[in-house]
Symmetry: none
DNA sequence: GAACCTTTGTAACAATTCGTAAGGTTTGAG
DNA sequence: CTCAAACCTTACGAATTGTTACAAAGGTTC
């Protein structure tokens, strides 16, 4: 899987440098241009995954460019602009931009917004659907737990909710109330025994030893802790 | 084509009123809630096109809610928050939000950002005439399913509607209500068991193993997921 | 127009999931 | 050590979903 390509179009060298550094740090490939002409020429060879475009360009009307890029070619465009008026932002977005960031900006936010765009445009390989931990692989797209030997055990939606909660904050105490909140609040106000059962069933599927649970540990009077080294992909 | 539905979750009545008015003015249908619990209850029936969520809710951790909504259910989420720090915005976006708007906001910008999200999510599923997936070829022009060996099985209009819905958003949870919406017509409160039968018949034509379906998976209490790598042409 | 076929919804019964109740077991305080 | 509270687990029933059978609706062929 190739790293996503981000094209930067800005006439200020300093901005280009800041963005390039932050983006490559974040694992993107980059390509930067100072003039619209070169930018459009490059576009004929490769269409980048995301275009970062500064509106205040000397040689072209930025808005027209954005419009052509976004609506005609279907590219993902994020405007970066010094103009912060609401009216500017609205027209930018209406013309087809996917996002509008005002200067001065924080590179971290730019990265986060690019990631958000990539996430939504890729419907197939949704990230955050598979987690590995201690020999197990949890496939949340297929609702299946995979063994070290490749054996698969299906788990239900309710069990998946609990598991996801654990995998989202491993090695941290999760109180009962937190869990209740976390699991869609099916509003079992009075009887939270339901949760115990959910956890019990999950433990069975993870083949936990009731006497000596290795992954889901009970903290008497406080909650649960999920031990295990989680890595999402 | 129905007007897009926007769900608003905010505990301040004034904000709800402002947003509702601006959105309906702009031609959206709206639905607003003051508590996460009610919001999630409604979500089990219909998944809105866009969710506007305020983070500072009294009864739930907003970020957890956003995470569940966005990554687990595949909804489009825009955060509206009083916290304007870069760090807040970054974590909000990383957790799966599609956009992050800080208070005070201008309703016009909210509308523009919602439109931008709808634009990008609509262009995603290109509905052509032929789709390939996991050894099958679906010819929607001829209403025929083609086998790996070239054997052809005809499918009906109703079956085709369901299949197209699946092929348009693969590997994502599709709620029962969403399907009902998608299949336009029979929208009435009439017994939706009809849909079960449609899906059952489609499964037979795809030669699914009833004990272990590989393509159309049922998520009890939540909906269906179509697994399979789809490419349209 | 009649006999036939296809499509589709409804009804009925089987299978699955999940919450609740009811015991049993573990934990920690005194 | 004793006991009560917290927690685990099994079993059962209600709700949800799968599948088959049947009938109504619409179209086709002769």
């Amino acid at each position: 899987m190739n790293a996503p390509l981000v094209s930067i179009l800005d006439d200020e060298p300093e901005i280009r440098a800041i963005l390039t550094e932050a983006l490559e740090e974040a694992g993107f490939r980059t390509q930067s241009f100072s003039r619209a002409r070169e930018f459009e020429a490059a576009l004929k060879r490769v269409v980048p995954d995301v275009c970062l475009v500064d509106l205040s360009l000397p040689d072209t009307d930025g808005l027209t460019l954005v419009h052509r890029l976004a609506l005609e070619r279907g590219a993902t465009v994020i405007i970066i602009s010094g103009r912060a008026q609401v009216q500017d932002r609205v027209t930018g977005l209406e013309l087809g931009a996917d996002d509008y960031i005002t200067k001065p900006f924080d590179p971290a936010e730019v990265v986060a917004r690019i990631r958000a765009r990539l996430r939504s445009s890729r419907s197939a390989p949704q990230s955050g659907q598979t987690a590995r931990f201690n020999g197990w692989i949890a496939h949340f797209d297929r609702y299946v737990l995979e063994d070290e030997s490749g054996t698969e055990t299906p788990f239900s939606h309710a069990e998946g909710e609990v598991l996801r909660l654990f995998l989202d904050s491993p090695k941290r105490l999760i109180s009962r109330a937190q869990m209740q909140d976390g699991l869609g609040g099916a509003a079992g106000e009075s009887f939270d025994r339901a949760m115990d059962v959910r956890i019990s069933r999950l433990r069975t599927k993870l083949r936990e030893d009731p006497k000596n649970p290795r992954l889901i540990k009970t903290i008497y009077g406080a909650g649960y802790i999920f031990l295990g080294d989680v890595s999402w992909s």
